[in-house]
């Protein structure tokens, strides 16, 4: 098989990925690859193993088998499986979560600033303790960056409210803003539209497109709202029972018999 990572355009290459939980194969010999600058959709019915794929990429799960290679910020090709979870971010991969993992008690601004955790340059615990000039400068810089991200998503005016008290739509945006703080090469969105109403979903589609443009990044998303997926994704992979059903454009996927079967239970 040709090594896709040889192509400059390939950002993430997943090859023969498998993981099982107690004998149940959640992901089964799955391969696909994502190109730089793409918006890539991963779809499949409930329980198909989509989130598991995300968890494997971000090293929340260590896959049983398979390769996960990524072209990181420096342009080096790294094998993600060799990294501890918390070091995936510095390679340039950032993610959101299905159930919005925000810190409820913190302000929205603080939540977004968590995304800049690794970007703080050279401020030490001592700088923090004594509130040195370096720390204040760095903090100011990051706050400006955070506010840019919040402004970009149109929620800057909420920034001082506790995140937990905000409507779900806002919380989703906060999580999105947080991903922007680390200057990512690949943003992984786990059901970004879940819980949003129609208007918010339309907004979200627009935002994802703008993020790709403004932040010059690549986006991989899992989503159940097919309207959204079909509208914004360049390519889509459909999976079921952890296996790949089809890869293609929106139209190709929608027309695919196996995909319809999986979703609607249409008899073959």
């Amino acid at each position: 098989m040709a090594d896709l990572m040889k192509h400059e355009a390939t950002l993430l290459d997943i090859k023969n990925l498998s993981i099982a939980f107690g004998g149940l194969k959640a992901v089964d010999d799955l391969s696909f690859s994502i190109n730089q600058g793409e918006i890539y959709g991963l779809i499949g019915p409930n329980g198909a193993g989509k989130t598991t794929v995300f968890n494997c990429i971000t090293q929340f799960y260590k896959p049983d088998q398979g390769e996960l290679r990524f072209r990181n910020k420096k342009g080096d090709i790294v094998s993600l499986t060799s990294l501890p979870t918390y070091r995936v971010l510095e390679q340039g991969i950032v993610r959101t979560f299905q159930n919005v993992e925000l810190i409820r008690e913190l302000s929205i601004l603080d939540n977004v600033l968590i995304g800049a955790h690794i970007d703080y340059e050279k401020t030490t615990v001592l700088d923090e303790l004594f509130n040195t000039g370096r720390r204040r400068r760095e903090e100011k810089k990051q706050i400006e960056a955070a506010r840019r991200a919040l402004q970009f998503l149109g929620i800057d005016h909420y920034r001082l409210f506790p995140a937990g008290s905000q409507p779900y739509g806002i919380q989703k945006k906060v999580e999105l803003a947080r991903t922007l703080m680390s200057d990512p090469k690949l943003i992984i969105l786990d059901e970004p539209a879940a819980g949003l109403d129609e208007r918010e979903t339309v907004e979200l589609a627009d935002e994802i497109l703008r993020i790709r443009k403004e932040y010059d990044t690549t986006i991989l998303l899992v989503e159940h709202d097919m309207q959204l997926v079909m509208k914004i994704c360049d390519r889509i992979s459909a999976i079921n029972f952890g296996r790949l059903l089809a890869t293609g454009t929106a139209a190709e996927i929608r027309a695919d018999q196996k995909v319809q079967e999986a979703y609607l239970g249409v008899d073959a």
Partner: protein, 345 residues
């Protein structure tokens, strides 16, 4: 959102100034005492309460910010107290040298215990640290050469900057250190580190995804908590002038827990208020009620239950709780409501 603040608001909203004002208020106490307006014992009760506040603040960093429970706080506080007594009395080291050692030794041990938190969660961590506290407690009782066993280890009022402190001087030192601790803790936690700890508690998954090493920050949290407990222990032994093994048992550790839950997680002032409820209320209020002397424990228990049932987010949030109750009820979820699985123990 950017409201214009007037000058007055600008001043009273400045946290540093607030801390200073609190410090000055506490520092006034000996003067009030001299004027006969408060009793002599009150100064000591409040001095001790401030010492306990420092230790409780450490636990608040651990539990409030990081979501990690410890039932061994008293053990570490005691260890520092014994170290300081041993170094200044037995080895006759100068106070400053002894202080550094007495802070360092328990903190290193605390960080090692922090390793437990890599393996234990919730109640398991709670009981494991309880066992650590029991081990320390047993050492205090048994290792006579170091602790003078059940005779208790004595210490003197310290000499700092060539100045021999007396009891009142020691009280001023406690107030000054308390305020410095407030300011440093405030600074430490309002920024990157505080956010990292918060993230770790609120969502370990989010923390890891944002590049936060849970391993490192758990150890930092344990280190900070033990450091503050140690500081409190050193102050205690040089204020009360004795360290006695029975003090550093499970009941005190549980009291620290009660302080921060009653006062409010992640709140410096809440910790202070909680500390007063647990350590000073009985002395300054309950025991003053006629015929209630024998029931002060009962009243304390009743108040603990009432506070927690009615102010589940701590007394520090009384104001925001009231605001919630008086309309403006947008959501049923309190903004500060922690999710069930965040902290358990």
């Amino acid at each position: 959102m950017d409201r214009q603040l007037n000058t007055f608001q600008r001043i009273y909203k400045n946290p540093y100034l607030q801390f200073l004002i609190v410090g000055v208020l506490f520092a006034l106490l000996p003067t009030l005492r001299a004027a006969g307006m408060v009793k002599a014992g009150t100064v000591t009760v409040i001095g001790t309460t401030l010492i306990y506040t420092i230790a409780a603040l450490g636990l608040n960093i651990l539990l409030g910010y990081s979501g990690l429970i410890s039932l061994g706080t008293a053990g570490f506080m005691g260890l520092a107290a014994y170290c300081s007594a041993y170094f200044t009395e037995q080895l006759a080291l100068p106070f400053w040298q002894s202080l550094i050692l007495a802070l360092l030794i328990p903190t290193v041990l605390g960080v090692i215990v922090g390793l437990l938190s890599m393996r234990f969660v919730g109640i398991y961590l709670g009981i494991a640290t309880l066992a650590v506290g029991e081990i320390l407690s047993e050492i205090f009782r048994q290792w006579d050469a170091f602790t003078r066993g059940t005779s208790g280890a004595r210490a003197k009022y310290p000499k700092i900057f060539g100045m021999q402190l007396d009891q009142t001087g020691m009280y001023y030192l406690i107030v000054i250190i308390t305020i410095i601790v407030f300011i440093l803790v405030y600074q430490l936690l309002k920024g990157r580190l505080g956010r990292a700890l918060n993230a770790m508690r609120g969502s370990e998954a989010a923390a890891m995804a944002m590049g936060i090493s849970v391993y490192k920050y758990r150890l930092i949290a344990f280190g900070a908590a033990t450091l503050l407990a140690s500081l409190a222990g050193v102050l205690y032994v040089h204020y009360i002038r004795i360290s006695y093994p029975t003090i550093w048992g499970l009941p005190l550790s549980l009291d620290f827990l009660a302080i921060i839950v009653i006062g409010g997680l992640r709140s410096i002032y809440g910790t202070l208020v909680g500390s007063f409820v647990i350590f000073a209320m009985s002395e300054l209020v309950l025991k003053q009620i006629p015929y209630m002397e024998n029931y002060s424990l009962v009243l304390k228990g009743v108040l603990i239950i009432i506070f927690i049932l009615f102010y589940p987010y701590g007394l520090a949030h009384v104001v925001s709780d009231l605001r919630m109750r008086l309309g403006r009820r947008k959501t049923k979820v309190h903004p500060l409501a922690a999710k069930e699985e965040d902290i358990d123990g």
